[in-house]
Subunit: 502 residues, 2 copies
């Protein structure tokens, strides 16, 4: 291994020390000391970001596209080191880190081509009508970047939703400088990715303040980030509790700003009777596989499957058998394993909840858990509808198709909702669809919600608490909209228009 | 006059009584009693709106377009009565009410053609890639209506931003039922417009719950509207204090919802030296005219003009002379006149503020006021940058072009910012532009911000406190975006896709 973290923060091209230190808690391999972020570092990072905006916000789309591609190149150049420190810190397997690296560089390159295309600028022009009474002036519209954006690294995506992840890529593509608050679960991965971005900044001659990384420093650092008057929007992926607290801080600012948080989802699947009759075992096996991918630590983990009562035994047994085969998996942090045990015990304590498969969960490793509960009991206990982050599934047994619809209606906002259906299920599917599309950002048929394609048509968002802004997505090209605002230009001469409007 | 208000509320096609009553306070003509809105009426209206959504949210675009056009027709059929009660209640002249009626019906018809066109649906399709590893599913995206929307009537636009105004038109166009909280300044105009909508609902066979009007009932009614769990978004135009309080309530809900508020703006104009030298008198006269239109009660009223110190005398004198000619104008309500007097006295009390023209303002009529102040003093006193609703202008005298830029940088968010420039001013204009486009939703050259064109390229919004969502506009076709959310459909069969995606 060639990469040894310095434990420093990147502020406008300078690697600086923070105040005090924390030690990384790798799943395996050496632990390192990192200096702690501070509100003073956050302030410096925001100020240089604001300064950088006056040039970066007016850079050409081609210059930004080349910059995004350079970041992707620099990440690839550090690929082996990133995988090594990333696997050590998170316990995720190397193949996952490599796949996630590909997703991360793919996102950066996708946004490069997206801004080259220019359709995202949403240019509009209402020409002057000098003969009309009253006369109409010439009015043009374009989407402009909003200014410095804060991004919180996510525990479960050390690459794709952290220093150079989807939030950073879409903000930089829009023309917004970024201040990242690193996640303490993978500070080394954060640092090496920041080194890659730093190298790309220098290679492309971008203003140094366009990217800063402040490592974790506890609650007051997170608070300093969202309350900083120069920050115009926040991108966040994390827990409901932590995310809501930051959302509330954003809303209470003297000048409120949007908080794009992705907080929690149980991603229900509805297993319709004909589909279950035709291929129930395969559906249950697919569920088990989706449920345990990455130790169940995905936002789109399908934590709940709803099935008719008289078909539940078969699904439960097939899922149990498949889940029982899954070896213990390392969880991202000791804290996440602890929260998983607490969540599992909370579900198990629910009245009339039956444990089909009991998990092992020690300090940091877990095997899957499977529960069964009647839809009536599930409907009566809101705690059973709350996300448990980890490999945990609940089979909800409905008395009737009507009760399946009732379960759907009772759901809170979700990132995804899935239908498993066959031709004979169409009537029931048609009754569920209008309900599910109001509840979820993405509706799937005959598939599993894990695996979020990065493309134009993706929505990774949804009604609260899936996300704090149901109009936005954090995955896919539409994610850039979060960091743009429309501006009208009335009767302005060519020389004063933004370059993209000329 | 044929229209005598019943004083009732419209809930799902029924005209019902509220609790207690209030008396309208017309500027002239008879006063009427109106029953007060209550939280219970709000609850009924929201429930029927939610029920209506299950059909209205799935209506065809053509059906909704015909409905919007029917509302416009029904408003026109009541044109004379609307003008009569509207002029009585608001004190605005008949020509203004007629113009505003045209704007209102024009907006309804514009949204009809906008949804017929369908580009607003933002349809996207990433086709399946079965050969890729991993395979890519078929993913389609479309914008869907969000559900019931609440709209607060605005004091200063009894038609264009009230019962059937821009917020209602864009929400109905999107497919969202609307609950309007009427403004107490024009309850009669609200009632007759609600009658027009009611007639259109019946004519078009729309679900009755698609529109309800609850008349004012004090703070608890406003609170009940924004806190109702079935409401998905709020449209509001009004004061900073009242709007911020409602925004805060929305953000604190268990499930926060977007609050699209348009709160306050001083709409600065920058008078650059060459333009002033060439046509300072005309600019000042235009300012006076824009400043006193509708007794200065426009969101886009240009309350501040910034000029170089050595050119200030000429502008001040020309503006004073023009403003002195303006006869007393009736203000919208006694309360607004009172607030105008208080705002005027607050500005007058600012240190080093000089009164150029003193206004008369009795119980409800006012003449314009003009102040002068040095940019240094203006920069040192934040109160001078706060909106005073009414015919009041402040001429801010900058020592230098640099100080003009400093004034621009110090501004809070604005609906508009205006440059008056000539060819020789281009360098200074180029320095101001990047600052102004960050501060305002619309930047104008050589014009006046009053008069907001309803078109595709309009942005009537801006950074806080101009609006609470800098990404949104409340005027123009883009206003529909506020009431839509993107949904992805993955591998869904044609039969289960929304009609507009098939």
């Amino acid at each position: 291994m060639t990469f040894i973290p310095t434990g420093k923060h990147l502020i406008a091209g300078d690697w600086v020390e923070g105040d005090g230190s924390f030690r990384s808690q790798p799943a395996h391999g050496p632990a390192y000391d990192f200096t702690r972020g501070t509100p003073a570092l956050v302030d410096r990072a925001c100020r240089v970001a604001e300064e950088a905006f006056w040039t970066y916000g007016y850079s050409t789309r081609e210059a930004r596209a080349l910059f995004l591609e350079a970041i992707a190149d620099e990440i690839e150049a550090r690929g082996a080191d990133i995988t090594e420190i990333g696997t050590q810190e998170t316990g995720l397997p190397a193949a996952r880190l490599e796949g996630e690296r590909g997703r991360t560089t793919g996102q950066l390159r996708l946004f490069a081509s997206h801004i080259r295309d220019g359709a995202y600028l949403d240019r509009r022009h209402d020409g002057a009508l000098p003969q009309r009474t009253p006369t109409r002036p010439d009015i043009r519209l374009i989407q402009r970047p909003i200014g410095p954006v804060a991004v919180f690294g996510a525990s479960n995506f050390p690459l794709a939703f952290s220093a150079a992840g989807g939030d950073t890529a879409s903000a930089l593509a829009a023309g917004c400088p970024v201040v990242v608050k690193g996640h303490p679960a993978h500070p080394g991965a954060g640092e090496i990715v920041a080194q890659a971005i730093d190298a790309a900044i220098k290679r492309c001659g971008m203003p140094a303040g366009v990217f800063s990384l402040v490592q974790d420093g506890g609650r007051e650092v997170g608070r300093a980030v969202v309350e900083h008057p120069l920050i115009r929007a926040v991108g966040f992926t994390g827990s409901l509790g932590g995310g809501r607290a930051l959302f509330d801080l954003c809303a209470r600012r003297p000048e409120p700003i949007p908080f794009f948080g992705e907080l929690g989802s149980v991603n229900p699947m509805f297993l319709l009777p004909e589909a279950v009759a035709a291929r129930g075992t395969a559906i249950a096996q697919g569920w088990a596989s989706s449920l345990t991918m990455g130790a169940g630590q995905f936002c789109t983990n399908p934590g709940i499957a709803v099935v008719l009562k008289d078909q539940a035994d078969g699904i439960a047994e097939a899922a149990r058998a498949a889940l029982a085969e899954v070896a213990p998996q390392v969880m991202l942090t000791d804290g996440i394993a602890r929260a998983f045990r607490a969540g599992r015990d909370r579900i198990a304590a629910g009245s009339a909840v039956r444990e089909v498969l009991t998990s092992m969960c020690d300090q940091r490793r877990a095997t899957p858990t499977l529960f069964r509960v009647s839809a009536t009991d599930w409907l009566g206990n809101h705690a059973l509808a709350e996300e448990v982050f980890g490999p945990l599934g609940i089979l909800v047994e409905a008395d009737s198709p009507e009760q399946m619809v009732e379960v759907a209606r009772s759901l809170e906002g979700q990132l995804t909702a899935t239908l498993h259906h066959d031709a004979g299920d169409l009537d029931l599917a048609r009754r569920l669809m209008p309900v599910l599309e109001r509840k979820a950002g993405r509706v799937l048929a005959n598939g599993y919600p894990t695996g979020v394609e990065v493309c134009d048509a993706m929505v990774h968002g949804g009604p609260y608490p899936a996300s704090t802004n149901f109009g936005a997505t954090s995955v896919g090209t539409m994610a850039i909209r979060r960091f743009l605002r429309p501006v009208s230009y009335q009767n302005l001469p060519e020389a004063l228009l933004p370059e993209d409007l000329r």
